[in-house]
């Protein structure tokens, strides 16, 4: 029975030629726009997460309160964190290890070319170095990473090696020397490409070398904390907050510092991007809405044109619900077919966009097919077609056979 309805619906859509095509086109354009924008947005979200170096590790970062969003951590703060803060945190029973980090603006010179780059510090003992390398997720591409005894040496991000045009077409490799704030440093390694603008352009050097150049003393931009038990990261976070409230003499709710877990950091970045994406998808959805109006219009016309036909079907025994189903299925099919083609094109455009993001930002985002998105929009367009068809189908079902036959 249902099969017959589908068969009939297909036949009808086909016989109405250009009008069916145009109705499909409406839904198709809308769905293409929405699907491509959603997949682009998801790609962008991954790209941003990789830019911020938010990885899947289970370390806690502590920063002094201030105005974030205007530079690297710690650049605009009122009361910086200190080594004593880190030591106190390390004495907490739920904490395994802490590391201080500073990020500074360095003037890097090589082959008579000058560029401004971030300089990140590396602590000077084995345990801490291991922790930092885990946090940065750093592997050497050439040479090796810094050891605790590597005074006067630096490890550079991938772009120092890859973008020789920034240095007068002379490649920087391990063994070469560069100037940082007019001091000479030997390059001993290049870090693998991370796809993050900050990490791929960073200069890593030992803490005491950096202190000689920048003089931050015992102050720290960030304290990295390794919890003893990774399952209880939330509790460790609370412990640190309590301790720092005490040390910095502030009440709850008035913290002048921030303790964040990787998930929290990612969530706060994503919430902004989600807002932007929702806004854009809503605008794009307007076109699906207009496409649905097109379906209603087509179906109303179709009911009127087939008034006589409906009369005949009814007089040979079709019930109201049969007529309703026939038109309802026809309009759902319009939505479904338009949606299916739209999803295909939308996904392809999304892929092209992600490829573009990769080229533009130097990231390495995978081209994932999002099945939830695909099935969701397929079901959605089927539903939209169905909803658009309800009123016309009801009109058709209510038709009085006698009047309909009379013309």
């Amino acid at each position: 029975m249902i099969k017959d309805f589908f068969y009939l619906a297909f036949k009808n859509l086909k016989s109405r030629g250009i009008r069916s095509w145009l109705t499909l086109l409406g839904i198709f354009i809308g769905v293409t726009a929405v699907v491509s924008l959603i997949s682009l947005g998801n790609g962008l979200q991954m790209a941003v997460a990789s830019q911020f170096g938010i990885s899947e590790n289970e370390l806690i970062t502590v920063q002094a309160g201030g105005l974030s969003g205007f530079g690297p951590p710690g650049s605009i703060v009122v009361d910086p964190l200190t080594r004593e803060d880190a030591n106190a945190i390390e004495r907490l029973s739920s904490v395994k290890n802490t590391v201080l980090r500073n990020i500074e603006d360095g003037i890097v010179e090589y082959n008579n070319y000058v560029n401004f780059r971030y300089v990140g510090t590396i602590p000077e003992n084995k345990e801490d170095i291991k922790l930092i390398n885990a946090q940065l997720d750093a592997e050497p591409l050439l040479g090796r990473l810094l050891k605790e005894s590597d005074l006067g040496k630096v490890v550079l991000g991938y772009n120092f090696y890859n973008k020789k045009e920034e240095w007068g077409d002379k490649v920087i490799e391990p063994g070469k020397a560069i100037l940082v704030n007019n001091e000479k440093f030997e390059v001993i390694g290049i870090v693998e490409k991370k796809g993050s603008i900050i990490m791929d352009n960073v200069v890593l050097m030992l803490e005491s070398d950096a202190d000689d150049l920048f003089g931050f003393g015992d102050e720290a931009d960030v304290i990295i904390v390794e919890p003893k038990n990774k399952e209880e990261i939330a509790k460790t976070k609370e412990d640190i907050e309590k301790l720092l409230r005490q040390r910095r003499d502030v009440d709850e709710g008035e913290e002048n510092f921030e303790v964040s877990t990787p998930e929290a950091a990612l969530a706060s970045v994503n919430s902004i991007l989600d807002g932007v994406q929702i806004f854009i998808v809503i605008i794009a959805s307007i076109s699906i809405f207009i496409g649905a109006i097109g379906i209603i219009n087509t179906m109303i016309t179709s009911v009127m044109e087939r008034k006589k036909e409906i009369g005949i079907t009814k007089s040979v025994g079709a019930r109201n619900e049969h007529v309703f189903l026939q038109f309802f299925i026809e309009s759902s099919l319009l939505g479904l077919i338009g949606g299916a083609v739209g999803i295909l094109f939308g996904t392809l455009i999304g892929f092209a966009g992600i490829y573009g993001i990769n080229l533009w930002l130097g990231t390495e985002l995978g081209l994932n097919i999002d099945f939830i998105l695909i099935f969701g929009s397929l079901f959605g367009s089927f539903l939209i077609g169905g909803i658009a068809g309800i009123v016309p189908a009801m009109q058709a079902a209510k038709q009085n056979p006698v009047e309909a036959l009379r013309g």
Binding site: I29, L67, S75, V78, E109, F214, I283, I290
Partner: protein
Amino acid sequence: MLSGESVKYSLKNLKKHKARSFLTIFSILVGIATIFIFVSFGLGLYNYIEELSSSSSADKVLIMPKTAGGFTSNAVTMNDSDINAIERTPRVYEATGMYYGAALVKQNKNQKYTFLISYDPKKDMILESFAVDAIEGRVFKPGDTNKALLGYNYLIPNKIFPKALKLNDNIEVNGENLKIIGFLDEIGNPQDDSQVYITNEQYESMNPDTNSYGQIFARVDIKDINKVVEDIEKSLRRSRDLEKGKEDFTVQSFNELIEAYSSALNIVIGFVLLIALISVIVSTVNTANTMITSVLERYKEIGVLKAVGARNSEIFSIFLFESAFLGFVAGVLGCLLGWTIASIGGLILKNLGWSFLQPYISIYLFAGLILFAVVTGAISGALPARRASKTNIVDALRTE
């Protein structure tokens, strides 16, 4: 060529198929309203930027330390010797430094982090560049000590602090008690309107370690400002003993900076409009569909019209008029709907403190969008109308 009779005939037809005409108009008006909203807000933003780059800022040049990407630098210092070098450059009238920092502002038990900006009251160029003045009290005078000038939002209860601040109140900024001498007029975004301003002397006494300005402003001869920018670069290179290409500072005219913002704005608004245009394309498809149906239904009628003497061009114009009329009605209603939504949106944004994001509504916007709707209606009706005009009389009359 379009007689009153054909107009009447078209309108009667549209009325006969009320549901269809209504749905077609509705689908166009949604798209038109969307575009109206974004264009009006876009124009509002351009106007805001235009105001920023008004005559009071046209003669300003900004000199900033280079950074690796952040907002402030700790690698490059700029101090009074740089100001001297800039002032010695030909056609530079005067130069002054400003400090930037974070401020922890406290009122009783409440606190807030915000931007702290300081300037030299003898050479106020920052307030002049942004054309803001005190709405209550006054701005700094030379010789003011332990005084603070606050942004507009401190005047509003529950915006920054539960209680609004008043003139001559004391406020704690980074642990220092300062007396409020004035509040600035509204700038229109929450960040600027919550800023705290102090004098350079005050900043230096609160931060004794400070050795570098965040930014230097210079007032220069407005004629051939690009040449002045180059000259400032040259004299700074000389005074800082740097080779060309190794500068650790940037020099930019204020208007150049604002142009950079507006070109970023172009991209954003262009992108949003592009997405909104998609909905217009879909409604064009709908209109074409309606017109095709309309032509098919009236196949016989067209035959009769032709048989009694209607010319091809008359048939064509009847159908073209029908679709253009649909576009016109949708354009008018769409603009009205867009106007309503944009005005409500503007009010909401104003209450949230984003008063620089206001729709700008002009008669040209209405006229332009209505014309746009008429033209898209006509375009989508052109092919069906042509088909109608080419109808073969004999075939048409023969059909049942």
